[in-house]
């Protein structure tokens, strides 16, 4: 679930921002001959509805119905008692509550005479909701993931600024890792607290406790730490997710080498051209043994779109890169937001 701060912040993501996204989708729907568009959300598959409305459910699930010329309808199984909260963090939608949110959507579709319905990730739509819709309306579902992807490909300024804010927050939190602790749980004990106190909506922490033995990351509890270990913080801030990975060492000489690599990574991150192969660009920095690029995709906040085996470009404005670099025989894990358009927010650049 989402347990951290969830608040509508007009200065960060305005009603105008999300209305503009809705209008872009409506234009794409028209071009694709769709009468209506459906986007499913729960706190795992939140990215589609978050993009269109700024809203993320902390629990349960919902359907967002877009019919051109009308306010979006958020139909949810969350009870009426949390309606005020939903409206406070979702000012551009009509909110309707029902134990059968699909049925409610179906009734609206029937009343509006909609026949051809675009669905984001149709195959992943919960079957119960699809059946509820079909039980009260005669509609044709069409997978419209490509329509949404076209609208979503270019991030707007509000999204990029939120990514930048999330990254700053994650960097601050990772400062709380204590590399001198003997065990992983003790080393990262303050990390989540710092992140949440700074306003993180959610965070997940994973550790590779001994990079000289294994570079895979997991939630491993209080296992002993090796000479070189890595921490990955996946963090959500105001609906936007980023992943930051950092390698730590108690050895001063190794620490210095890692720091140089980090500086090179930070310098390279905004220069990376995501539209072409990444491998050759990364090799200019250091030997890289494995990497993955994740971008917001459909309902997923972050989904892998390229890696060292499938080095294909992406249309996304920014991505999150996680990479394993080779440093004198050891593996060093680094990661964070990257991409040409991942540039400093206008306000901070001016300052």
């Amino acid at each position: 679930m989402r347990r951290g701060l969830m608040l509508w912040r007009e200065q960060e993501l305005s009603a105008t921002d999300v209305l503009s996204r809705q209008q872009r989708l409506e234009a794409a729907m028209k071009a694709a001959g769709l009468d209506a568009f459906l986007v499913y959300t729960n706190h795992v598959r939140s990215a589609g509805v978050t993009y269109l409305t700024g809203f993320t459910p902390y629990w349960s699930d919902a359907l967002l119905l877009i019919v051109p010329g009308k306010s979006p309808l958020l139909s949810t199984a969350l009870s009426k008692r949390v309606g005020n909260w939903i409206r406070s963090v979702n000012p551009t939608s009509e909110v309707a509550h029902s134990p059968k949110p699909g049925r409610l959507v179906g009734e609206r579709l029937a009343a509006a005479g909609c026949r051809r319905i675009g669905v984001l990730e149709l195959d992943r739509l919960p079957a119960g909701l699809a059946e509820e819709i079909a039980s009260v309306s005669d509609v044709e579902f069409v997978d419209a993931s490509a329509v949404f992807a076209d609208v979503r490909a270019t991030a707007d300024r509000a999204e990029l600024d939120l990514v930048f804010r999330a990254e700053a927050l994650a960097r601050e939190a990772l400062q709380a890792v204590d590399p001198n602790q003997e065990r992983a749980g003790e080393a990262v004990s303050l990390l989540e607290r710092v992140a949440r106190e700074a306003g993180a909506e959610e965070c997940y922490v994973a550790v590779a406790p001994d990079l000289e033995k294994d570079s895979r990351l997991g939630r491993l509890g209080n296992v002993p730490l090796g000479r070189l270990f890595a921490v990955r913080l996946s963090l959500a801030y105001n609906g936007v997710w980023i992943r930051l990975t950092k390698t730590f060492s108690r050895d001063a000489a190794v620490r210095e080498q890692v720091q140089k690599l980090e500086e090179a990574f930070a310098e390279m991150a905004p220069e990376l051209d995501l539209s072409g192969p990444l491998g050759p660009q990364l090799l200019k920095m250091a030997d890289v043994s494995a990497w993955r690029l994740e971008v917001p995709s459909g309902t997923l906040p972050l989904a892998e779109t390229a890696n060292e085996r499938e080095d294909v470009g992406t249309r996304a404005s920014y991505g999150n890169l996680s990479a394993a670099f080779l440093l004198g025989g050891a593996t060093v894990l680094l990661g964070g937001p990257v991409g040409h358009r991942f540039s400093r927010p206008a306000t901070e650049a001016a300052a």
């Binding site: 679930m1 347990r3 701060l5 079957a127 949440r196 939630r219 993955r292």
Partner: protein
């Protein structure tokens, strides 16, 4: 034998008793109980499907590489398979099962693409729900551990609730505490204020001030099993009105717990709680307008069956674990929560919560 092994054996027995050849169990970080019953992995991102054969062999299909990697570290004994095309790959596996009897669940959450792939599934919901509700002894031991950590967590929460602090700072403190105790997950929402507060939600940045009631339900997860505690505190000293209102909730909780024993229905317990409110002229406030449920099951999901409501006729059985919580709105002082997790024993309830049933007085004088 590990708890995961216990579950696998119970699952195999249930499949044999019903003549099933395979089970297809879907899960994500929200609805993970069906999946986790078969494979002991706490999924966080993306989606997963476990395919369980009659011989007990189980494969877990995960759609995100990052989660498949984590599963390979956290569950080295499990058969983990990365399936970017989750629906297509699982549909192909099921197709290869031919004319065998396959059940799938939870029905509502199965991917539409799987349901329309051509294979007719039986509904596994009732079979799995029963396994989830009536637990083995080692499953109940995990619920006991989770309840003990919930008590510890509430002590941390109480100490954190100081005037001038934002609500999300309390969550930050409790989550950090839980992580140090090996709690991977926790369901919690919060309410801060007075009569204007009608329920609980995620934190919104409200600053605690003297006189505020602070409600929360903490639901930590140990070994995959959740237990819940609901308590209310007042920043500073509770007023007489707040105390008087609270005593009704305490009486209702005690009446509900007293009604719990094998053979009664969920409705009987709800009625026992609600009758107390009705006696005090607060019958309107036990309707769906003001409250969702009067308790629910806890286990591999924080809010599982049976729901404790006056129209739920599920019979309570030995070895179920539930929370009884008469949480609702009080028109004079606002939303109050109070609830204890318990295990249903042969002779009655084993109440797990050790935190006193009090309207706690929080620190009033110390800022920040």
């Amino acid at each position: 034998m590990s708890t995961a092994e216990t579950r696998r054996k119970r699952l195999a027995r249930a499949m044999a008793e019903t003549g099933l050849d395979a089970l297809v169990l879907y899960g994500n970080a929200w609805q993970n109980d069906y999946l986790r019953y078969a494979v002991d992995f706490g999924i966080l991102e993306g989606e997963g499907i476990a395919v369980v054969g009659r011989d007990g062999e189980t494969a877990l299909y995960l759609d995100l590489p990052i989660e498949a990697e984590r599963a390979s570290v956290e569950c080295p004994e499990a058969d983990i398979r990365l399936a970017s095309d989750l629906v297509g790959e699982v549909a192909a596996v099921i197709e290869r099962l031919g004319n065998s009897r396959v059940a799938a669940g939870p029905a509502r959450h199965l991917p539409y693409g799987l349901v329309r792939s051509g294979k007719r599934f039986e509904d596994a919901t009732a079979l799995i729900d029963r396994l989830l509700m009536v637990k083995a002894q080692d499953e109940l031991d995990w619920v006991r551990k989770a309840a003990a950590i919930a008590d510890e967590g509430y002590a941390v929460f109480r100490a954190a609730a100081r005037p001038g602090r934002p609500d999300y700072a309390l969550i930050a403190e409790i989550e950090a505490f839980f992580r140090t105790k090996g709690v991977d997950d926790n369901f919690m929402i919060i309410g801060v204020g007075g009569p204007e507060v009608r329920g609980m939600a995620p934190p919104s940045g409200k600053l605690l001030k003297p006189g505020d009631m602070v409600t929360t339900e903490l639901t930590p997860c140990m070994g995959g099993y959740y237990a819940q505690i609901c308590r209310t505190l007042v920043v500073g000293e509770p007023s007489q009105a707040q105390q008087q209102a609270f005593y009704i909730f305490k009486e209702a909780l005690e009446a509900g717990i007293a009604a719990v024993k094998p053979g009664v229905t969920a409705a009987d317990v709800a009625r026992a709680e609600n009758d107390v409110f009705r006696r005090y002229g607060l019958g309107d406030y036990v309707t769906s307008e003001y409250t969702r449920v009067r308790g629910h099951g806890v286990g591999l999901f924080p809010d599982t069956k049976p729901q404790i409501l006056e129209d739920v006729t599920t019979t309570l059985e030995e070895n179920m674990s539930i929370i009884v919580h008469p949480n609702t709105y009080h028109p004079e002082v606002g939303y109050i929560v109070l609830g204890d997790t318990l295990i249903i024993g042969a002779d009655g309830p084993e109440v797990l919560a050790r935190t006193p049933r009090e309207l706690f007085a929080g620190t009033a004088g110390k800022e920040g």
